[in-house]
């Protein structure tokens, strides 16, 4: 009877230890408890930042993008939820803001899960007169149902207003819709094109 009690106690201790190791932070842990924590850890281990987050963009319930600046760089770091933990998802490194240009931009396409290719086209607007940015694109196809959609709808634009934070992000899922990028434009409040960069 006494031996049985010892074995039982040891087994309970082992069970508690394993559960503790699984959930605690340490070499046995993977991921972070929140998107913001994953983002902070991502930057720390990349020796970049800590950046100042300007906007937090939530995509569905498992992707958070942190539009940030740090000194003369901007970034769109991404945290991804897998299971119930958050992981770094790319885009951690900053891109230099070119002050000689009205707009500095960058893009990244990463695959998350089977059918999701998240495309991020983001940037920083240096010219204070620009109040909106426009990404002109042609639609290649709209997901799987690429049948007889009328050809007149092929050209499309993504537009975003620029506020004091000076940053923008166009976000879409390449698995749902694919584009060829035509140009990026920066417009003033009257709609005059102050900046234009042809893409492709």
């Amino acid at each position: 009877m006494k031996r049985k009690t010892i074995v039982m106690t040891l087994e309970w201790a082992l069970a508690v230890l394993l559960v503790f190791l699984f959930f605690s932070d340490g070499p046995f842990t993977i991921g972070s408890g929140s998107a913001a924590e994953a983002h902070e850890r991502s930057e720390r281990s990349y020796h970049y930042g800590p950046s100042q987050t300007i906007k937090e963009i939530q995509y569905r319930n498992d992707i958070v993008i942190f539009l940030s600046t740090y000194k003369n760089w901007f970034s769109a770091d991404t945290s991804v939820k897998k299971g119930w933990r958050w992981f770094p998802g790319g885009g951690v490194g900053g891109v230099e803001i070119d002050k000689s240009k009205a707009v500095s931009y960058s893009w990244e396409i990463s695959r998350y899960k089977k059918e999701r290719w998240i495309a991020k086209f983001y940037g920083y607007v240096s010219d204070p007169r620009i109040t909106s940015v426009v990404l002109n694109m042609d639609v290649i196809n709209e997901g799987k149902q690429t049948d007889s959609k009328d050809d007149t709808q092929k050209m499309t634009v993504l537009k975003q207003s620029i506020t004091e934070d000076r940053m923008f992000l166009f976000l879409w899922n390449e698995a749902e819709i694919r584009y060829t990028w035509k140009s990026l434009q920066g417009l003033d409040s009257e709609g005059n094109v102050l900046y234009e960069q042809t893409l492709n």
Binding site: E11, A15, I30, R41, R44, Y46, H47, P88, V92
Partner: protein, 163 residues
């Protein structure tokens, strides 16, 4: 009472088995794999005579410790073997091409490639540079990465064995 005890035993053992299985992949990644290191060093002999310099000096990259273990100099290249121990849980791997190496006259040795193997505890690896153009008494390693500019200067003394 016996039933309660039996149920407790079953629950306890299920917890042990399930969590042991869940933790197993993480434990497996903790086993270091340095098999390639010796082969890499051996392969340097193809270049000609190899001179080994023991350095064993560290610098902190933010909070993460980077140690220069040895420098190998061959007629064709200079190879730096390092150990990297990041603080906290694993993150991004090291950008090896951010390490710039200079001889005592200030000539930069050109980065030509790198290899590494890692565990969640850290990693060990090799960074390859172009060969020394003249004999040097010391080297300066600079981690030039965004606004980080971290330096380590170490003497190059021939106390290692010549092969």
């Amino acid at each position: 009472m016996i039933r309660v005890k039996l149920a407790a035993t079953i629950i306890r053992r299920i917890i042990i088995i399930v969590f042991a299985i869940l933790l197993l992949p993480r434990i497996l990644t903790l086993i270091p794999d340095n098999r390639g290191d010796k082969e890499n060093i051996k392969a340097l002999e193809k270049d000609g005579p190899v001179v080994k310099y023991d350095i064993h000096q560290s610098m902190l990259l933010d909070q993460d410790r980077f140690t220069v273990n040895e420098i190998y100099s061959t007629p064709k290249q200079v190879v730096l073997r390092y150990t990297y121990r990041p603080k906290g849980t694993a993150g991004w791997s090291l950008p090896e091409n951010a390490f710039k190496l200079y001889d005592s006259s200030g000539n930069e040795l050109r980065y030509s490639g790198s290899s590494s193997s890692g565990t969640p505890w850290g990693s060990t690896g090799f960074i390859n540079y172009s060969a020394l153009i003249e004999p040097t008494t010391s080297m300066r390693l600079v981690y030039d990465w965004y606004d980080r500019n971290i330096e380590l200067t170490f003497p190059i003394q021939k106390e290692g064995e010549e092969q």
